[in-house]
């Protein structure tokens, strides 16, 4: 279901051969400047081995300044693969950097703007790429310095650090082994804050009113209650929420009650009663829907075997189940051999499984005993219920459930397509109740 896992940045890329790289000593997450460092053209930068995954909503890494070297001319940030590595991040287009010597933020230009404090030996800098808001933010020793860059739209950004004077040295933590090297910053909190802002922006979305000016929520609740057959609540909602004007007909109530009874009988294995009620409620349904008819009769056949009425079951199977399974072109004998053309594979399999029950003293314990279990009966009951609803021209599901289903599927699809913000969201936590809404929203979604 989830998008294919993309590799994460896990170390500095020591494999790049460029003139600047000879000025750097790169060892995993550690980099030291060993060049002459006398002028800007001596600058050298590294970038990580992989870009930030494109579906990653919040990417975080830390850089510890092992040594400020001569002038502490270090730049920390991101750049794309096209950016030359003989420049500090931020000097070139598609690169962003926070520089230690002056605390300025650079993006695409040789001159920066005042942003944060300077940083030096022993400091650690947190770097946050927020793909939801398209920003880059830095922290110094855990202190949030605020947004440094906005409108960060590059899809493939690599963490990058640049150097300019001798003996400058840093160690990065990309969070790939948090057990051994935990982050010093509070990533959970950073994520939670970002998630909260995302929820706030979603919750400021306006929902269109109903076409007839009705209260959308009221209508949805009413429709749901009606669909579930909670008639009294539906009536109270119609009165108090919708201001009257809607009612449930007595016929609908009666239909629903019959449907419920049918469901109960199917679930209890009382198929005869259920069949009779189906004929009463929806004459023509069984003739028009041979699949449903077959499944009910097949269940009846299985229930007879369970009740020990083996002879009767065989007789019933021969006269009712098999002919129905074999289909209109008819024929006698075992459906499995002759009726293949007219039977869905699943139905044929079910028939075989049901027939197999005959072979066991205790059919429920046999390999096809599932047919007699509550789960199977309940599923059949649900199938019958859907068929009855469809037959009466009513929707199989209320608009509220349909909207929930659509919201869930759309969110799933967004996640699957690598939409960064969607990775932070979770429908379930939005629906759960009994907790403070703020806390609820702080729950990061699965990602």
């Amino acid at each position: 279901m989830a998008a294919r896992q993309q590799p994460q940045p896990s170390a500095w890329d020591a494999s790049i051969r460029s003139s600047a790289q000879r000025y750097l000593s790169v060892d995993g997450c550690r980099v030291k400047y060993i060049g002459p460092g006398s002028e800007d053209k001596d600058a050298a930068a590294v970038r990580s081995n992989h870009p930030v995954p494109s579906d990653c909503p919040i990417f975080y890494f830390e850089v510890e300044i092992a040594s400020r070297g001569r002038d502490g001319f270090i730049g920390i940030g991101f750049s794309t693969a096209e950016v030359e590595l003989d420049r500090l991040p931020g000097w070139e287009p598609h690169s962003y950097g926070y520089h230690g010597d002056d605390g300025h933020a650079f993006s695409g230009r040789g001159t920066g703007r005042a942003y944060g404090p300077i940083y030096s030996t022993g400091d650690w800098i947190g770097v946050i790429l927020n793909r939801v808001e398209r920003t880059i933010t830095f922290t110094k020793k855990g202190y949030d310095l605020g947004i440094a860059f906005e409108n960060v739209t590059e899809e493939r950004l690599y963490p990058s650090v640049g150097f300019r004077t001798p003996e400058e040295e840093i160690v990065a933590n990309f969070g790939t082994d948090l057990a051994a090297r935990p982050f010093r910053g509070d990533l959970a909190w950073i994520r939670a804050e970002a998630t909260q802002r995302l929820y706030s922006s979603i919750l400021s979305t306006s929902v269109p009113r109903g076409s007839k000016g009705q209260s959308v929520i009221g209508e949805l609740v009413f429709g749901y209650l009606r669909h579930q057959g909670h008639w009294d609540t539906a009536a109270a909602v119609a009165r108090d929420v919708l201001g009257g004007g809607v009612a449930v007909s007595a016929q609908e109530v009666e239909e629903m009650q019959l449907r419920r009874q049918i469901g109960k009988h199917v679930a209890a294995g009382e198929i005869d009663v259920a069949l009779a009620l189906v004929r009463q409620l929806a004459p023509g349904l069984l003739d028009g829907d041979p699949h449903i008819h077959f499944r009910l009769q097949c269940q009846k056949f299985a229930e007879m075997i369970k009740a020990g009425l083996v002879a009767e079951a065989i007789e019933y199977g021969r006269t009712h189940v098999v002919p129905l399974g074999v289909g209109p072109q008819g024929g006698s004998g075992v459906a499995a051999s002759s009726g293949s053309a007219s039977m869905a594979a699943a139905d044929r399999e079910l028939l075989e499984d049901a027939t197999a029950l005959l072979a066991y003293d205790d059919p429920s314990a046999g390999p096809t005993g599932y047919i007699l279990l509550p789960a199977h009966r309940n599923e059949l009951a649900a199938t019958v219920d859907r068929a009855l609803l469809a037959h009466s021209g009513r929707c199989a599901e209320s608009a509220l459930e349909a909207a929930t289903r659509q919201a869930s599927a759309t969110l799933q699809e967004l996640k699957r397509s690598g939409h960064p913000a969607a990775q932070l969201l979770d429908l379930q936590s939005l629906l759960q109740q009994g907790r403070d809404p703020q806390q609820l929203l702080l729950e990061p979604g699965g990602s």
Binding site: H94, R156, T205, V207, G213, V216, T410, L411
Partner: protein
């Protein structure tokens, strides 16, 4: 630079989308809880009580304690805004004192009810005396005020562009705003979760529109799945 930007949207057919929809598991308990949360948060005590009995869903709060809110809501919804204001002030005079915007909306609703009742002279007087001064103080409200007062000039308000103000939904909106303010004053959860669900739906559909074409739910009331527009 458009590097890496996708230029063609994925097309998800109705069949494919329906399969995805079918895979979504919706638990009845979750739906029931969301409905109960709506009834309780919005102060529909009677309905909440009946719903508890019919569905076995626990309200999660003491229903006795929300009777005040219920009655205040009922007053707004039946068009008796004056009574609602009185009762809120009995409960906690700070609520309307502090929230000018809410108070304005209540007065606006009062004006709407006067117009609905055909009491045009009273409506005009009321607007001039109570609403106009507040609107002048607050440019944000001025526009709403102008829109509401414009109701006076339409003979058939229901056929006017301002018909939405006369809807049941407008009463609902005002009642909900007041209800939420009372809840907030009592440090309780003020917003029901059900609207969040719909907002998420609207937001998510809009986001996915940028990546794919697929069947939508546009009309939330019917919940009908609509095919995406043909390729453009």
């Amino acid at each position: 630079m458009g590097r890496g930007e996708s230029n063609s949207k994925r097309r998800i057919s109705r069949d494919e989308w329906e399969r995805k929809l079918k895979d979504v598991k919706i638990r009845k308990e979750d739906m029931n809880r969301v409905v109960m949360n709506f009834l309780v948060t919005e102060g529909y005590v009677d309905a909440a009580r009946v719903f508890e009995r019919e569905s076995g869903t626990a309200p999660g709060v003491d229903l006795e304690q929300i009777t005040d809110r219920t009655e205040i809501r009922r007053a707004v919804q039946s068009g008796d805004v004056e009574q609602a204001i009185e009762r809120v002030n009995d409960l906690d005079p700070d609520i309307l004192e502090r929230q000018q915007r809410l108070f304005f909306h209540l007065q606006q609703q009062r004006l709407i009810e006067l117009i609905r009742g055909g009491q045009l002279a009273e409506a005009l007087e009321f607007a001039q005396e109570y609403l106009a001064p507040r609107g002048e103080d607050n440019p944000e409200l001025l526009e709403e005020l102008e829109r509401t007062v414009a109701l006076l000039v339409f003979k058939d308000v229901k056929a006017s562009p301002l018909a939405d103000l006369m809807d049941v939904a407008q009463r609902q909106k005002t009642a909900s705003e007041l209800n939420a303010a009372i809840l907030a004053a009592q440090s309780q959860e003020a917003e029901p979760k059900l609207p969040n669900l719909l907002k998420l739906l609207v937001w998510a559909q809009r986001q996915l529109d940028e990546k794919a074409t697929y069947p939508h739910i546009q009309d939330l009331v019917s919940g009908q799945l609509e095919d995406p527009p043909a390729d453009n």
